[in-house]
Symmetry: C2
Subunit: 342 residues, 2 copies
DNA sequence: TTCTAAATCGAAAACGTTTTCGATTTAACG
DNA sequence: CGTTAAATCGAAAACGTTTTCGATTTAGAA
């Protein structure tokens, strides 16, 4: 029952551990005959190399860490899937941690992963995170690091993102194109870069089209959680504050769906009275009614590419090459549905 | 930059490696004075024990493996969240793998996890899986194993499930209670136990209420994927086959939502003409219109409890106790919404 | 046959930790 | 001061692998 070791194979064949090890790795300095013999008895005894020993000797674990703000989330679970699939192809396993949008947890988890000596770390930042010492620590320990989606521009590492500003601009421009004149924006929390960028894209589209930018039309998510309830709350407030709104660009599909629910409940017709555009293209957006116009955010692709960049850095570091960080910007597209038909 | 080892601390203080190690673990046979000294210099030098060496020595990795059929899935991502959170509390990390409902992949992934020498494995079976040698291999290697949701009854290990039969019975009974006489069932694929059990619950409810059980009203998911499209396809076929249907119990919310979409498109009124009950209580079910009556399946709880059972077995094995497997059945509840109002 | 080169093997160190057990020092007491 | 017990320490083995480098064997050529 106890697991087989090189030593046992060696004893069984009356040869040295060294030779067994080399035979299994097809070293040219062990004869074809013994190589074959060793291979056969190894598989007969169902030998599996002891990862712990291999790790210690080779100083690598073939495991990477992934820190993500939330797991139960259409976009992020797609990212996870992309990362796990791509990693498996290259022989890497993925440890997943959820930061719960908390900076403190994120810090602890980075520490945990470093102490486990993972071969690399993938991270999408918590909304709270405004200080980056923990990330710089990763870099200074020469552990490969790649950030995706919710990134910090200042941190020197590879990144995979979308152009949030451009996408938000596209979304807002679409509202303008179909005739909206007074467009509100439900934005995300203050800190995260993508929340800021989406807001800036919205603002720029207004200005470029000679529409007034009115700060009172921008609703910030104060609770930090982009929920269905948040959308209902904001929509309700918006109807009280402004009677003349004819379009809303909303930071996240889930919030947009909450907003639409509240608007409809209060008798607003979508898209006749108010057009709504979301962001992310959750599956849900396609099946509610009215179906939601939104920006497609390629989660799977983002996951795959993030791992690829990390893998590249792992390889480069092993070869002691100088590594140059890449910033990959993935394409987004506007998916037009019933919430903005004119 | 190179990482600090016990040896370096020992040399710096002019004491032995042994003492340093023991001091950091608060052994009583090293004086309080040296203990303090060691602790201080260790934290000063930012010492982190080398996991690889610790693993090799202690023969445990503090990592568990999780194999799941799909990641992008409301129920399963909730389970993941539950497991990861609970594991973290006990100092364990979680490696996640997606079997993609494939038996071959599942086998490979079990092998991978065993060769990584994880301290335990959590698994929800692929739909395809009908042979359990790979699982019995886990057990015979004395690696703790817990199955959840999609389980195999024959395999001797702890399990966390819901009573699918009872839940399906409840769902069907509800349809009967509101007056349905001809109730169809969209079931899952042939193999998985929960697909079978939900079907049996449906059938038993009919019989107990003196309603005819008509096999032609049961639609099997042949493609093996419980998708939105599957629901549309089945609903369309159902309308062709049977004109007198007044209720449908559907294996999964996603399929139910697809079915409702198709029904509405074809002019059927829900719930006036046909009442629909889903299964799982995805978030989506609460926000579509009409909102979907469904069975709440506690994903988070299932995840937490699965880890707890695994943890229990890990502890028991370490103490060489005899382990007795548990089968935990979690409660479900019927959530009544607009798709079945009478 | 003898010498040289190539082919084949194995001893040993190393990775960094944990833990056993024996050695040494200190304290306590008669 | 001598004896004993308690307190404190460290040498060494062990976990299982990888890899260097030297040793031995074999084959080939002269």
């Amino acid at each position: 029952m106890a697991l087989v070791t090189l030593k046992q194979i060696a004893e069984k064949l009356g040869i040295s551990i060294t030779t067994v090890s080399k035979a299994l790795k097809e070293y040219p300095d062990v004869s074809k005959k013994t190589r074959k013999l060793v291979r056969e008895t190894a598989s007969m005894l169902n030998y599996k190399p002891n990862s712990f020993a291999v790790n210690l000797r080779t100083k690598e674990s073939k495991i990477i860490g992934l820190i993500i703000p939330v797991i139960v989330h259409h976009f992020f679970s797609s990212v996870i899937k992309g990362i796990v699939a791509q990693a498996e192809k290259k022989g890497y396993l993925v440890i997943i941690l959820q930061s719960n949008e908390s900076y403190e947890l994120e810090k602890k988890q980075i520490d945990l992963l470093l102490s486990k000596r993972v071969d690399g770390i993938l991270i999408s930042l918590a909304n709270e995170t405004a200080d980056f010492k923990h990330l710089n620590q990763v870099i200074s320990q020469e552990t490969p690091l790649v950030m995706f989606d919710k990134i910090a521009k200042i941190v020197k590492c590879s990144k995979v993102i979308i152009d949030d500003r451009k996408a938000a601009y596209k979304a807002t421009q679409h509202l303008i194109d179909i005739g909206c004149k007074r467009i509100a924006h439900f934005r995300g929390p203050l800190l995260p870069q993508n929340s800021i960028d989406r807001f800036l894209g919205y603002k720029k589209a207004l200005i470029d089209n000679n529409l007034e930018y009115d700060p009172s039309l921008v609703y910030i998510c104060e609770c930090g959680e982009m929920s269905f309830e948040e959308g209902k709350k904001n929509a309700s407030q918006l109807l009280k504050d402004h009677k003349d709104i004819d379009g809303i660009f909303i930071n996240t599909d889930l919030v947009a769906i909450g907003a639409m629910t509240e608007l409809i409940k209060q008798g607003v017709k979508i898209p006749e009275d108010i057009s709504v555009v979301g962001f992310s293209n959750w599956f849900m957006a396609s099946i509610i009614s009215p179906s939601l116009t939104t920006i497609n955010q390629p989660g799977l692709e983002m996951g795959k590419n993030s791992f690829k960049l990390l893998y590249k850095e792992i390889k480069e570091r092993k070869k002691k090459k100088t590594i140059n960080y890449k910033e990959l910007v993935l394409e987004t597209e506007l998916v037009i549905r019933d919430s903005t038909k004119n």
